[in-house]
Symmetry: C2
Subunit: 230 residues, 2 copies
DNA sequence: TCCCCGTCAATACAGTGTATCGGCATGAGA
DNA sequence: TCTCATGCCGATACACTGTATTGACGGGGA
């Protein structure tokens, strides 16, 4: 083992900050889902030891919080939309598109309160869109209702998407013919309404379905806003 | 080492079935959350080796599917409610109460398609409640919208509940005074609407808030059902 | 009676989050 | 400029995870 064989000692540790850590984690998650995010792998991407990360976060969960906040920045619309309805609509659609870019977001959505700076900014944007249109409590209820809807809808959409990817079949094809289990269950006759839905329902575009439900909910909110406070 | 020292050989392996496995898993999850469910611990509760479980499930995820289906049985109403609105309302509230009994349900809700027998029965119950009141596609959209709402709302409620438990403070108390971070953020003046909401909003009962949003969504569905098919 | 096969437990492995510890480089004080 | 202390970083360690593999042992069929 001559000097020439031995590599130079490592340079000073590469400088780190939360931003770098979070974007490494997001890259990992984009490639392999949330479960592909391990502190060791994140650290490895940054040429650092795993323990180094504990200077920036105190547990893995906090890394997820940071990731969430980072996509909240993507979600935040750049300009303030014209009216409240457009504001909520844009927010919902931007969240959905973010989830399609980062599917792991579906696993995190609604899982913990989003209190990071960008999460608060999103909350502010939505609340301010409705500000003054009704009493505060109605406004909060409206925001919560709309966001409960799109959180749930996005989660389901991604769940279906994953299932389709795993089976290689669209949901309806799978239900209709290819799944022996499903065929058998429907054949029992115990699920007539479901059977009808599976066979007679039109296969609709996920985005359209999302948008339709969203408009319904927005209609409901509109009805409430146009009502004098109780 | 005489005979007397040596214990008798173990009796024949305790009989196992999915039901036993699932209820052990649920018990574990009820006590310590989803992350407390490990195949080793489930097996230990049943006096079995971990590998034994692989005769009944082929991966841990499937155990979660079985757990989900088991609570779907709790959710299924015992009798068919009078009208569609009551049916959807009951379903939503029963799901919520199941999630309060089994908080880990919030982590699973909407995460994967529920195709177990009880999941299908729930789907059947909701679809049949709306059967004939509109064309199939509208009906499906209605079911999906309502369930997206309550899925999201339940997840948020449980998330808040956990956060409150972790900090020992109600959400509003925490936001208002006790969290140095939150106080600082609100003090920046960048979140006026949010600040107003935090300080002027009434602290409402979670169930009431859930119910209110649900009624709004049901109103929206009612409006669509009363409309002739496009 | 013997053998085969299916079932179950033990072992093994690669990977996880995180606590602890030891050393080294850096910056302050003399 | 030398010395010492301090704080950071990596290595090591630990308890635990899901799951593949292996090997023994028992009951059922020939």
């Amino acid at each position: 083992m001559t000097v020439w064989d031995r590599p130079e000692p490592p340079t000073r540790p590469v400088p780190l900050d939360r931003e770098r850590i979070v974007s490494a984690a997001i890259a990992l998650a984009d490639e392999g889902g949330l479960e592909a995010v391990s502190l060791r792998k994140v650290a490895a991407r940054l040429d650092a030891g795993p323990m180094r990360l504990y200077g920036y976060i105190s547990a893995k969960e906090e890394l997820f919080d940071l990731m969430m906040d980072e996509v909240n920045a993507e979600i935040l619309p750049e300009e303030r939309p014209a009216d409240w309805r457009e504001a909520l609509r844009v927010l919902a659609h931007r969240t959905r598109r973010a989830a399609l870019r980062h599917e792991w977001l579906a696993d995190l959505l609604g899982g913990r309160p989003s209190l990071g700076p960008n999460g608060l900014a999103v909350a502010e944007a939505t609340l301010s869109a409705l500000d003054g249109l009704a009493d505060i409590d109605t406004v909060m209820r409206a925001v919560e209702t709309v966001s409960a809807y799109f959180t749930g809808a996005i989660r389901r959409e991604i769940a279906n998407l994953r299932a389709e990817r795993a089976t290689g079949l669209s949901k309806r094809d799978w239900q209709r013919a290819s799944g022996p289990y499903m065929t058998r269950m429907l054949a029992t006759g115990r699920f007539p309404a479901l059977t009808k839905a599976v066979y007679d329902g039109t296969e609709v575009d996920a985005e359209e379905s999302f948008a339709t439900g969203l408009e319904w909910v927005l209609d409901a909110v509109a009805a409430q806003l146009g009502r004098p406070p109780a």
